[in-house]
Amino acid sequence: VNPPRLARTILRVLTPRADREHLLDDVDEAFEGMSDRPAAARTWYWRQAAGAAAVAVRRLVQRAGMRAFRGGAFWRGVRLDVIQAARSLARARGFTLLAVCSLGIGLGAATSLYGALRVVLLDDVALERPHELRMLFWAARADLPVSQQNSSGWGDPATKRAYRSNVSHPTFTALKQTNPDGVAGFNFLPSLTVEAPASPALSVSGLIVSGNAFRVLGIPMRAGRGLTDEDDGPDAMPVAVLTHAFWTRLGRDPGILGTTIRVNGSPFTVAGITAESFRGLSTGGRNTPLADVIVPLAAHPAVWAAESQSLLGATHVLWIRVMQRIDEPASEPARLGAMKARLTASLVETGVLSAREATEVEAVFRPGDRGVDPIAEGARTPMRALSAVVAAVLLVACVNLAALLLARGLGRQREVAIRQAIGAGRGRVIRQLLVESFMLSALGCALGLLLTVWIRPLIASMLSTGFGAPPAPLPVDSKTLVATGALTTLTALVSGLLPALRLTGGGLIDRLRQQMVAASAPRMTLARTLLVLQIAVSIPLLLSAALMLRSVQNLLRVDPGFDAAGLLIVRVDSAAALGQAADRRAPDAMKALLSRILDALEAIPGVDSATVVENPLLSGLSSSNRALIDGVNRSMYVNAVGPGFFETFGIRLVAGRAPGIDDVGGGADVAVINQTAARRYFGGDAPIGRRFTLGARELEVIGVAADSRYYSLRDDVPPTVFDAYLQRGAGRRLLNMVVRSRAARPALESAIRLAVAQVAPRAPVADIRSQGEYVTSLTGRERLLSTLLMVFGLFALALVSAGLYGVTSYAVARRTSEIGVRVALGARREQVLWMVLRSVLSVGAAGLFIGLLLAVWSGRLVEAFLFGLEPNDLPTIAIVAATLLTTTAGAALVPALRATRIDPLVALRRE
């Protein structure tokens, strides 16, 4: 049983530092002694926290009291002010609640969001001097005839050029020569099977690195040695390094050094264990996972997913990412220039580019301090948008507090005048008002702290978009907390001082007299201006949120071209199933295994059909290769599909047939193309029976399939070729089995695991996901952004309505006698109602107008994430405007109705 976390935090915060550790230890010890009665123990723990609060208050009062006696009248006066402020705030309960809540929400939202920002934008990987690291990306025309494997990159739609991270091994060797001690190559191994002694086969992820990577990147070691250039030689003994995390998973046996583990069935000697701080060359992700095992590039035939033959001489297979260390900032342009020159030369030498195209090659460095970080890469823009949001929410909260304090100040003219009349000095009154503001901001800060503690896990879980990866723990950033706290305190100070000065200045008699007659309505210009500002700031927030929400809806409404409902993707490790590497190469063994598994899956009650596919559709995975069609070089997306693929996914065959179980290695290689490919590359006329070259293979078109989405819901369907899974060589390590069924998921899942275990006992089922989960994960970034924007948009809206409510309430209270007179002179209820609402709606309309102007600018921040609508989408704007005006009217309605109930006799008697 764990102690209640919040109570523990309170204890920790409230205990003096000298006692903190001992006290917490003592409390925890006593708590553990009560573990047989967990409920009572929790109550007891909370009582300790309450006791800490009591002691802290007593200590504070004692200290303040002693100072007052020592320091004289000033502090004694402040002490009285504190007591009086507490009383006065307790009396104005509604106001205090509004002010404290709006401050707390703003502060809590801002700090927790900033914590998230830091994780996504600022935290680096545990390498030596990570800020010196640069990732190489290079651009050439987009449809380069190469096979890219596990790469990152981005396209520039304007120039039709694609930036890529990967190079071939010959190119990498050439690049390394420019700076042997500064250029390292690596890539991620998302899915491996490791068999360690005395441990079942484990499904893990890893890194494949050049021999110099440990030295260049400065990967910290805990025990043993890192990989060296010798390990990366062609005839080297295969060695591997384990990360601390994986070593821990294996049971932290220090004797593991020097023993042999099997990675995908091949033996590797364990050379070392990395330090605990090193988790990988990324911050996680499906294709760029954190590392468990690190092996040298030379070991790739055993571990690289797509190939079982050597890639060392392959010129058109791009599989290595390049990182360079720039130890002299000044040398960066020169190093980049050297890299670019060598890269271009190598690309031409290896025949990837023609000499004419070589002039267009571009190379850029990207910061490598966070390793390869697809989340951050994609999240930089939304995070910039979000930091604007943080600022906006904080601004709204501060403005809100200011408006509330101003409104309250106006209502206190009488009180202040009377206090001054009976002898209080001006400074004395101002001090008292300031103490009140400070108390408010202190309460708000406390609430903000609590909210931060609560919101953090929520935001952390929203940030982990990929499934499987646990959310990274978010730090509570003490500097942010202090900064935001200081800002709110400053706001409280300024907005407390303004009315204090105004209230205490001017002739006393005038002010008292002004109170006595039915004064005209206070205009509250400043408070109303602040409200306008507040509304204006929240409009871009709400509008962006609404735009993102509709984009996500649009994305999910896209017809993928196949029937996603009822599809389950089961990933099975075939390397383990097939055993030794030698067997794996035999196509017959693969065919036998596949038909055994497929038969077993289809025998499950409720399963309609089952198939196997290289890349599950809309999973974020895709392959492409160069194709030679009628003598023209083309780039095509490729997917290897097993028997029953089109039937299982519900993709219509327009013509011809699909690859079956008998299309195995040995016979003529066959393929189905989609309609886009048929139209664009085969002229649309009867492509069946025609032959073309894909990579190094000759394929015959045996069918044409209807278009379906492959890797993205946003982009158009690419020209795609579906070749026969069983003809693709049997080197794949991971089988993506796809099952279509009508059965309920939990029962089906266990049935699938059972079926696979019976057919292939040594093959772990890596995971089972529905197609829906893949699509959800694919839209993760958009959903993350829209959720965060929505949450903070609603925060802002709540703050706005709180401010409007507070200010309108005060306005009505101040105008009581005026309204009484109006009613006495014959004003009807609805006229009074409209009078109050009108003034609020004019504030709303003004805010809306300015806000829409701001939104024109802020729309650009989210534009890249929109789908199926423009930033100036009229219906969305209309919805936001309507929501805002409704909220405005709603917030003002209660005080407005209160105004209509004013009895003229009561109102006038008050004077």
Binding site: L11, L14, T15, D19, E21, H22, L23, D25, D26, V27, E29, A30, G33, R47, Q48, A50, G51, A52, A54, V55, A56, R58, R59
Partner: protein, 107 residues
């Protein structure tokens, strides 16, 4: 002679009874068990703190405790001044109580 509140006195007595084994947990348990009075750990700490500043108890660190992740306990021992104070408190309390008739003197 500095004034002690009831809680301070209870904590001092508890520390005296516990001898070498007086630390937060045992003191809190002792006070609760003997008087049925719920005292929070922070209050116990505050009382011990004051008693220490008055010179009635001295703190020392125990050896490292494996069950606390290798950290030591903060233990307290009643000092000579504390012993004298306990004795005088006991004497005056006994004198005071001695004059009180059983059952409130109503029979």
């Amino acid at each position: 002679v500095p004034d002690l509140t009831t809680l301070h006195l209870l904590v001092l007595v508890a520390a005296g009874r516990l001898g070498d084994d007086a630390y937060g947990v045992t003191v809190q348990r002792e006070v609760t068990a003997c008087c049925g009075r719920e005292v929070s750990m922070p209050a116990v700490y505050a009382a011990l703190d004051r008693l220490e500043r008055l010179g009635f108890v001295r703190r020392r660190l125990s050896e490292a405790r494996p069950e606390r992740g290798g950290r030591a306990r903060r233990c307290y021992i009643v000092s000579a001044a504390g012993r004298r104070r306990l004795e005088s408190e006991r004497a005056s309390a006994l004198r005071m109580w001695a004059g009180l008739p059983q059952h409130g003197g109503h029979r």
